[in-house]
Assembly symmetry: C2
Homo-oligomer: 298 residues x 2
């Protein structure tokens, strides 16, 4: 059983409808009804050796990433962040100066995106640095779900993809401004942030919406980092743009009539399930979605 299965398993034990819960876990963030407002609630964690390497990442970048990841989730719901709390599990041997820089990185990024950090928990322990951030947000109007894509929708993305491991994964900008602009100018049917990779995240949207998709190879915006990484490892830049995670761009769908308002249109939503790719020679072939997931033993 993998991580996602385990989360599904625990979700299956929880009542489907609970008072005040408008959207339960399973989307980028939960949506709650509190005091007449629609409130987003999300937690995420980053761990040394998994999401960053404390020997090479700057402390400010670590703090940034810890806060920017759940900010990106709120953006993907079409929301606006409001408040946050952070739990820092810090190695006993950490220096005060280094830890301060991590904390300043968190505070600076939170503030830059209008988020007031209102609680902190700091624990020293024998292990490595881990940071869990929980954020609240608000939604003006309806939250944008993963499950709203409709056949015929154009698929858009807010920026170029691939090769984020070369540095962007530590320095990316959560697309909150872009999410607000999309809401104002277009009819966004569905949205997700590209954290697991374009193919995988698009498959999440398709599964939740009960649809399929055809990606247009020529339409996939490929990051310069994907080309640089390609020179190193021999995989194609397109492969990196389709498979690499942690770009934190927004992937969204809009009605076909609005496609001219989308800068990077990379495909179309189909009635037929599964994900296909239209090669530059016109051939349409199935795309293998290779999600990676740790599997726990019995």
């Amino acid at each position: 059983m993998g991580e996602l299965d385990l989360i599904r398993w625990i979700r299956s034990r929880i009542p489907r409808r609970r008072p005040g819960v408008l959207v339960d876990s399973g989307d980028d963030a939960a949506v709650l009804r509190i005091g007449g407002d629609r409130v987003l609630f999300k937690t995420d964690s980053v761990i040394d050796g998994v999401h960053f390497d404390s020997l090479t990442a700057r402390p400010g970048e670590i703090g940034h990433k810890a806060v920017a990841r759940p900010l990106s989730d709120l953006a993907a719901m079409g929301g606006v962040p409001t408040f946050g709390v952070v739990a820092v599990m810090c190695p006993r041997a950490a220096s005060e100066a280094w830890l301060k820089r991590v904390m300043v990185g968190m505070e600076r990024t939170a503030r830059a995106f209008g988020t007031a950090l209102v609680g902190g928990d700091l624990k020293s322990h024998p292990g490595k640095l881990a940071i869990a951030v929980a954020l609240l947000g608000r939604v003006n109007g309806r939250p944008i779900r993963r499950g709203g894509a409709r056949p015929g929708d154009a698929i858009g993305v807010t920026g170029a993809l691939g090769g984020s491991i070369l540095g962007k994964h530590l320095r990316f900008t959560p697309r909150l401004r872009e999410a607000g602009e999309l809401r104002r100018t277009l009819t966004v049917h569905s949205m997700i942030d590209v954290s697991d990779g374009l193919a995988t995240d698009l498959s999440h949207v398709c599964e939740e919406s009960g649809v399929g998709a055809t990606i247009d190879e020529a339409g996939v915006p490929i990051a310069a980092a994907a080309r640089r990484l390609s020179l190193r490892d021999g995989e194609s830049p397109l492969h990196h743009a389709l498979s690499d995670g942690e770009d934190y761009e927004l992937l969204f769908t809009v009605p076909d009539r609005e496609r001219s308002g989308v800068k990077h249109v990379l495909g179309v939503i189909d009635r037929e399930r599964g994900i296909r790719i239209r090669r530059k020679d016109g051939r349409v072939v199935p795309l293998r979605v290779r999600g990676w997931e740790h599997r726990f033993g019995r």
Copy 2:
């Protein structure tokens, strides 16, 4: 610089008044204004080897403790829990069966206290199990602060103290019911949960309130576990009741005229700063408060 100093340092960098923030970090939970409601927001974490030992603690107890600790914080604000999210950082080698029991422990305790878990984040990593829980709550009326104690107040506690390391720290009941009853029947001026030890937590109340306290040795309710532990380590049962942490009883103050409504009255709030103890022979001596705190290097 220690953990608490570091938290103070980062707080000093944050604006004192922020929109929607009624009570900032520094109390048992933050209090926010959301959609016309007063909302409590709190995060806390537990780590294998620090807050439990995964070789001896039952998995369900670990899950219980992870959720019950922040529930206890909401109780200490006089609040009622509503929603929660959990971030689980799990050792790669963990068995699925064990991890499921940890998660069931979290879900069961959350549900028992009316808390809907609406988001989960599960990450496998090379380190040990760590769980960060963030909770929301509501307050009917004013939140009960640490800083509201007044000279002459009687100091009460909801149960016997000491020796929780022998087992209670994994199985304690967050005193939400008791907090509700205290609110309804008494004028609670201040409240905190006993997580760091009676002497230390009382000193937090006194510092925040600008007062002092005299504990009556004869009034301190001593847990059976404190006596058992005393037989092992030679420290007095009273020492354990005053110094041991993790009892998660509520420590509170009420006006003297209401002292008859308090089951365990263990002292009185004084104008004179510092904490004293009145021995059984009538002598009043200063109490040394020995908080433990990890200090980070430069």
